[in-house]
Structure formats: C-alpha cells, structure tokens
Symmetry: C2
Subunit: 326 residues, 2 copies
C-alpha cells in the first residue's frame, strides 16, 4: 500500500503519522510537545525522529508499505512554491527552508502547506466536509486560522496568504489583537480569547460553577471549561457562550456574504461543546447573512479532531505532486 | 464583426450598448433613467426599446454586423442558472424571469448576471484589472457591491450570492444598514453614506466650503462634492475623507487577509477623487493587512466608468455560453 508521512507542526504540539494514500487510515501517529523555545533545529530534529518512528510503525503494520512522500503543515506565512516558512510568531521561526530540510532528512519528496489549510483540506478529503464544493473552514485554537477549498482544491491566493479569517476586523474599537489591529475576530472568538473573556467576567463576579470547575484558579479556565459550566447552568459561562456565538456569528455571516460557501466547517477543541456552540452560532448567522447564502450553507463541526493536520499534510503532498509543484 | 448587446439595469439608470465580441469597443450606448416606480414591465419595455435602437446603431456602424446574443446585468440576488431576478429592493422586483423575457423580446440567446459582478468582470476583461489573476472588485454607489474573479472567471459561490462585500460587518455597534444589521461596510463607505456622514457633520458645524459648494442645501452633498471640498482645503470634508479611508481600509484589509488578491479594483463615481481617495486607502490597508498580502496586491481605480456594466453584461453572455450555461 502507498503511504504518505504527514507532519503537523503546531505551536503547542507536533503530530506525525503515516496516512494511507487513499485517505482510508492513519497509522503510527506520534505526538509530543513542540518545545519551541529550543528553536527550529531542535523542533525539526524531533520531527525527523518522529517521522523515522512513524516509518517503522507503518512498515510493521504493512510489510509491503511504499512510502511515497512527506507533507508538512506549519503556521504561516509560508512560501509554498519555495517551501519556506517565512515567519511564525508562535514558533519564533524566520525564513526556515523547512521543505528542503525535511526532504533531505527523510530522503523523500516533501510538500509544505499552511497548518490551517491542511486541517480544512483534510475535512474536505476524508472528514466532515466531503460533500462540500465551496468550503470555508475555521480553526479555533490559540488563534483563528482558516482555509478555503473550492471544488476540492485549496485556494491559496496571490501569495499563499489567503484564509486568515481570524484577522477580519469585526469591531473597529474592539480589543487589541496580537496582529496589532483592534477588533479582529480572533481577539474575540479564538479558544484563548473565549477563555480570556470568561476570566475577565469572573474577576468581577462572585461565586460561579465556572470558578468551581477551575478550582478557583482562573488560569485553568479554558473555552472547553466555559462550555462545560454553561451546560451545568452557570449564567456567567452562558453569557460568555452567548457572546461567542454573536462574535463568531458575525464573522461567519461575513464569510457567507463574501464567499457564499455550501459548507462552513469549524475545527478546534471547542467544537466538543456541540450544540451549545453550534445552535446559537447557526441562529446568529441565519439572522445576519443574506437568505440565499444562508439557505445554501451548512455549518458543521470537523470530524478528524487532532489528526486533521496530519491527514491534511499528507493530502498537501498528494495535491502538490499532482499539480507539479514538487 | 460579432457583437453582443450589453444591458445594465440599475436602480437609477439603465444603459444599453453593443459590445464587440473581442471587447475592443462599444457602440450605440443608450442611457436613460430607470423609472423603477413603473414596475418591472415598464422598465423592461424601455430596455427592449433601447436594445432595438442599439441594434439599429450597430448595423449602421457595421453593415456586416452579426449580433450573437444579449447579456443583462441586474441587482441581485439572482438565480443565474434559471435566469431569474429573485429580489431587488432598489427596483421592487420579485422573481422576475428577466432572461426569458429579454430572450423572447429580442429573439436572441440571453445571459443574466449580477450587476456588480458584470462591472468587476468588465474591468478584468478590458479595463484596469486585465493583469489580475486574483481580483476583488468593489462598486461604491448607492450601496457597495462586489465581485470576485479568479483566473478570469467570475466566482459565484454556492448560490450566485458571493461578493456582497458591502455587507461585511466591520463595527458591531455601528450604524444601522439597509440590510438590517449594524456596522456593515456599506453603512459607512458607500457613496450615499459618505455623503450622509458629511451631512451629519455639517448639520452641527459652522461655515465650510462643502456647505458653500452645496449652495447651502445639504441634499446637494454627494461623495464627489466631499472630495472636491477636501481638495480645496475644507477641514470638515477632509475629516469625512479620512474617516472614509479608515472604514474602506478596514474592509479592503479584511478582504486581503481573507482572499489574498493581486488586484483590488474600486468602481463608482467617487473614484474620480483620485489620489485623495486612493493614497490614504492604500496607507490604511498597508498598515492593517498581513505583509505578504499587502506586498502581493495593487489597489486601483476602474477604467471603464459608466460603461463597465455594459461591457460586463456582454462578457457574461460570452462566458455563460462558453460554460454551456445558456
């Protein structure tokens, strides 16, 4: 069977697995903390070791395994044509020729792709958005990333920079964002900023279930915990969830009016909140976007969880090879 | 020579001309007020008459003329596949089968396309955006319309509703928009709303050149007059121009981060303000969008003026015929 090594380099964790070239399964997925403070050499060294272990895993699982290439997803901005990570604030990398380093280290043709693009493309390939023809994906994590897939093909734009939905300004006078602007969608509705808004409310509030769930330690408050507290009936957590639906609803409605997708797929740990996130989000979008755009679109959670990046990196290899890019 | 009748049905004026199939020229362009209050039958009757006159004009100019079809641009939402105008608030039309009516009235194959899409596609075909591969166009008029052209082909989305850039919310608590939301880009930066903001400032201000240019009658204040007064050094008008650059800059920067275009082409009467509009707009976008997106993109005025809609309607016929849609 043919396999592709998929590498997902994130600000927090790196995940590596071997993906069957038909997308049917992944084996030997290895995950470990990125340890970005050690710099690019340390992180890439770990990734190469994980890829070697993955190769061993897949050969054990499939004695006839043919490993045809490597795909790597990393935070952008990237230059996909030259295979270079231009700048990743979360990793502290500047102009790292990641594709060449991995290709040399593993002796295999290698593709480089934006991490959010990988995750969204994976959902289109083997996940929740397989039926979509005009797909928008948003990844809600530390920040908000995104990807656009048209007819099964990633849309990259003029310089591989498309899909930065997190940095759509939705409130001129909103909170300062890491990018330097005010009121970006990310500054309201990324996982980290959902938790930040909850902490700000908690600081000024009395007893609450959310505070109890965090054992009184506000640093333990996460977006997931907010939705857990809301599910238990905590009014403060419910307020944060309602506000999140409003902010995210504005962002997604904007994307419906701009792009008229048939599918919006939402990724990230917070999607485990299920209907508590999706029901008010869908209501907000339906109330805001134009009717023909609302009628055409379904808003769904991703299905691949933490493996979306690995599947998508492997798909990036297959796609870039088919396009003659590598 | 082969010709296509291009019909541009607007809320204020209708324009009809014959466009050479190679886009090299337009002849017999006729324009008259739409008179929307008379209803669809009255407007379409006028358009048919103008098309007949255009046919006569083109036959006079080119005795060997072969008229191969008709393209019509109208405000949306439309159903392009069925050739129906679903709803146009400015015209008061609901479910008008415009394509069939024109095809029957003129005895020619007819295409229907969104008016803003037509204008943007025209700039890509024979206007200012011919070199663009990833083009975003915004039309600043009564409202703000838009179009997306990728590799020379209009992007329609899942239900022909893509490109409604005017209804991107940029300020959660902003002014009420005609669409029912608050803080849409259109509510700040359409031609009509540039003038509205100027009038609001004038109402509370003392003497100014803008007031003089309007001969004391605030209903005469237009976006064009605001830029004229700003050019003469009027501080109030300059304030309105600065605010416009900020609002429009946020909207265009959002589109750069989302779509990573190589070309943003701005259309509408207000572009005659030239550098007074474009210089601060470019500065604002450069300060707000991600560097790779800024570096890849040029922001330019359209070149076709009031004929963009006619050229684009003719191009819509050629494109939809080539795509087998009509």
């Amino acid at each position: 069977m043919q396999w592709v090594i998929g590498i997902d380099i994130g600000g927090t964790n790196c995940v590596v697995g071997a993906v069957a070239a038909d997308g049917s399964r992944v084996v030997g997925d290895h995950s470990q903390p990125t340890g970005a403070a050690r710099g690019a050499d340390g992180v890439i060294g770990d990734v190469l070791t994980m890829a070697e272990r993955t190769t061993a895993s897949v050969r054990a699982a499939d004695p006839g395994a043919e490993i045809i290439g490597v795909g790597a997803g990393a935070p952008g901005p990237l230059d996909i044509h030259r295979g270079i990570v231009i700048l990743t604030p979360n990793l502290g990398w500047t102009n790292v020729p990641l594709r060449a380093i991995l290709a040399e280290g593993l002796g295999l043709a290698t593709a480089l792709e934006n991490d959010a693009n990988c995750a969204v493309q994976a959902e289109c390939w083997v996940g929740a958005a397989q039926r979509g023809k005009y797909v928008i994906g948003l990844t809600l994590g530390t920040g908000i990333g995104g990807g656009i897939v048209i007819g099964g093909t990633l849309y990259h734009g003029a310089s591989d920079a498309a899909g930065e939905f997190g940095h759509m300004v939705i409130d001129i006078d909103g909170p300062l964002c890491g990018c330097g602007n005010h009121g970006c969608l990310e500054a309201f509705a990324s996982g980290v900023n959902i938790a930040r808004r909850a902490r700000e409310l908690l600081a000024a509030a009395g007893p609450s279930q959310l505070r109890d769930l965090a054992r009184g330690d506000l640093t333990r408050v996460t977006a997931e915990l907010v939705y857990e507290a809301a599910a238990r009936g905590d009014p403060l957590a419910q307020q944060v969830a309602d506000d999140t639906a409003r902010y995210l609803g504005i962002g997604v409605a904007n994307l419906l009016n701009i792009f008229n997708p048939d599918t919006v797929v939402i990724l990230g740990g917070v999607i485990h909140a299920g209907d508590a996130l999706f029901a008010p989000l869908r209501r907000e979008v339906a109330a805001r976007a134009f009717q023909p755009a609302v009628d055409a679109c379904t808003i769904i959670p991703g299905a691949l969880g933490g493996l979306a990046g690995v599947y998508g990196a492997a798909k990036a290899f297959l796609d870039q090879r088919a396009a003659g890019l590598i």
